[in-house]
């Protein structure tokens, strides 16, 4: 840094001199260096141009357009007029929209809590000395990398009302006498979709937390066990505090993905039975694309934002506040 600053200073001096004297070769180099350094605003702008143009056109502009659409009655193939808060008033009074809000919150809370618990457990297991460690770790992540829409089809078949392999096994074991209607009953459907979401999300949480676990120095555990700490105490007073910052980030992402989930529900139930599994994302798709009511769909999508922000802030600050426990600054 200091070198660069010094360079810049002599560069500037060299350039002044250059105007009066014929430039020496050495001065030339310095001058060109300084010109480049001075130009870094222009150069930065140039380098940012491709990414900036794409993001402005396909991210920032649509984001604003979405908010605007939410205040209009736009339909597919017909421009809309400004209707103020009408869409939001309608959605507020709409039983299906309120149900979808409940479903989304239920889905997010239950799935995230279980994903966190199982993911942390799996991470702790993977951090132990097990045979074929690298293979096991690679295999664990498979549910996360495979297209969700495609693995959801496998779950669809597993949850089939007539030929479900789960029902078959349970019947053979004599635990049930009738096949379970996994996706036909409202509460069964909610829990089944949550189970599929957990299946997909646990590997992500586990592998990220494992990366965090591996940065914890083993000497802490040695010191703790020499002081007579039980495994539970080691986990509670060494692992957990040191892991908190990474838990905060991982869970923020996990909540974000779960809250805005679309594929899984769309493939498994399309929001049915009786709208029992409609999330806000699937309902806004349903209203906007097949239903044609772009304005209403956009309003529904926009109303996810406050909840999303609240969820992010909660999981981020709720956990991040304990960063001091690391012994570092806040």
């Amino acid at each position: 840094m200091r070198v660069a600053a010094a360079l810049r200073r002599c560069g500037a001096r060299a350039r002044c001199r250059q105007r009066t004297y014929a430039a020496a070769t050495e001065g030339d180099v310095r001058a060109s260096v300084s010109r480049l350094l001075d130009n870094r605003n222009a150069l930065g702008l140039l380098f940012l141009l491709p990414a900036g143009a794409l993001l402005l056109l396909f991210l920032t502009y649509p984001l604003g357009l979405g908010v605007w659409l939410g205040f209009t009655d736009t339909k597919i193939g017909r421009g809309g007029a400004w209707v103020g808060l009408e869409n939001y008033e309608f959605l507020f009074g709409d039983a299906v929209a309120r149900l979808s809000l409940f479903n989304t919150l239920f889905y997010t809370v239950v799935a995230s809590v279980i994903k966190f618990a199982l993911g942390l457990w799996l991470a702790l297991l993977l951090n132990k000395h097990v045979p074929f460690k690298t293979v096991v770790r690679a295999v664990v992540l498979l549910p996360f990398i495979v297209p969700t829409a495609l693995s959801a089809i496998a779950f669809w078949w597993i949850y089939d009302a007539q030929f479900s392999v789960i029902s078959w096994t349970l019947t053979e074991l004599g635990l049930i006498d009738r096949y379970i209607d996994f996706l036909g009953d409202p509460w069964n459907a909610r829990l089944s979709t949550i189970a599929a979401n957990i299946w997909r999300g646990v590997p992500f949480v586990a592998i990220c937390l494992l990366a965090g676990l591996q940065t914890i120095s083993p000497s802490y555990y040695e010191a703790a066990s020499l002081d007579g700490a039980t495994p539970w105490q080691q986990f509670r007073y060494v692992t957990l505090p040191l892991l908190t910052p990474i838990i905060a980030v991982v869970m923020t992402f996990s909540v974000l993905f779960t809250f805005t989930d679309f594929q899984l529900i769309y493939v498994l139930t399309r929001g049915g039975p009786l709208n029992a599994t409609h999330l806000m994302a699937t309902l806004s798709f349903q209203r906007a694309i097949p239903g044609g009511a772009l304005g209403e769909g956009a309003a529904l999508a926009v109303s996810m934002v406050p909840f999303l922000l609240a969820a992010i802030l909660f999981s981020y600050f709720g956990l991040q506040r304990r960063a001091w426990q690391q012994g570092g600054a806040d």
């Binding site: 360079l7 180099v29 260096v33 605003n41 930065g44 702008l45 380098f47 141009l49 491709p50 990414a51 794409l54 993001l55 396909f58 649509p62 984001l63 357009l65 979405g66 659409l69 297991l125 993977l126 132990k128 097990v130 295999v139 664990v140 498979l142 990398i145 495979v146 297209p147 969700t148 829409a149 495609l150 693995s151 089809i153 496998a154 078949w157 597993i158 030929f163 299946w199 646990v202 592998i207 990220c208 990366a211 591996q214 940065t215 120095s217 555990y221 040695e222 066990s225 991982v250 974000l256 805005t260 679309f262 594929q263 769309y266 798709f285 694309i289 772009l294 769909g297 999508a301 996810m304």
Partner: protein, 294 residues
Amino acid sequence: MAKQTDDQVVDTQGMNYLVSLPRRVVTVYAPLAVFLFVLLFPFYWMGITTFKPNEELLSREGNPFWVVNPTLAHIKKLLFDTSYPDWLWNTMLVAVVSTFLSLVCSVLAAYAIERLRFRGSRYVGMSVFLAYLVPPSILFIPLAKVVFELGIFDTRLALILTYPTFLIPFCTWLLMGYFRSIPFELEECALIDGASRWQILTRIVLPLAVPGLISAGIFAFTLSWNEFIYALTFISSSEVKTVPVGVITELVEGDVYHWGALMAGALLGSLPVAILYSFFVEYYVAGMTGAVKE
């Protein structure tokens, strides 16, 4: 960083000799086996269903966990009677092009933000992170309007241009972290030797950031291979659909579910990413955890 953690992994086992074998079986191996079984079972089920003849699929007799008369009929139907090969090709094309496009944009942007340090670069860096948090399910409706007005509705170009909206923020964020780890001194030496910024980027920074580029590329590729909601919204003609959307919308006809063909479609659509992933596991994990850790 990676090296350091590897060393620590070996060391973590320091006190483990105190734990007896039966105890380890109950507390470690058994739960791990259950986890692995549950996580892998859907894939086994996909595979076994792909090779099952219809009589066995639609029968409650016999053991469903095994195939008696394996058949390739479902795969044959998929490859020759549907547009599945087209979907595979579309998915591949869209994923490769959008990944490449995003990588180019992200390298330039990340270098500018991290190293050129132009005025306001800190804010641009923050907004890249915020862009990373914008979920596609909020964007797809207005984006459909934009795509329609640009006249690229129902084309592959629509996907190639919209996928970078979630790829660029991610790749830029990841590459910023990699560029930060490259010492400033190297660039200063190059500057003194008269290299231009472009030469520094291509000859010094990029070769050093190859692992980061691979991580970002692999991750971006799988993300765009898995994308669903944009492809579902912006594409309506069968011949430009991607695999996930094609399988969901075209292989399901009315109330008759061709489970064999559906599972074959899911299996074949998952294989390319799974194979690619198996070659680059470490890079993939580094990409995923790197983005979270920053």
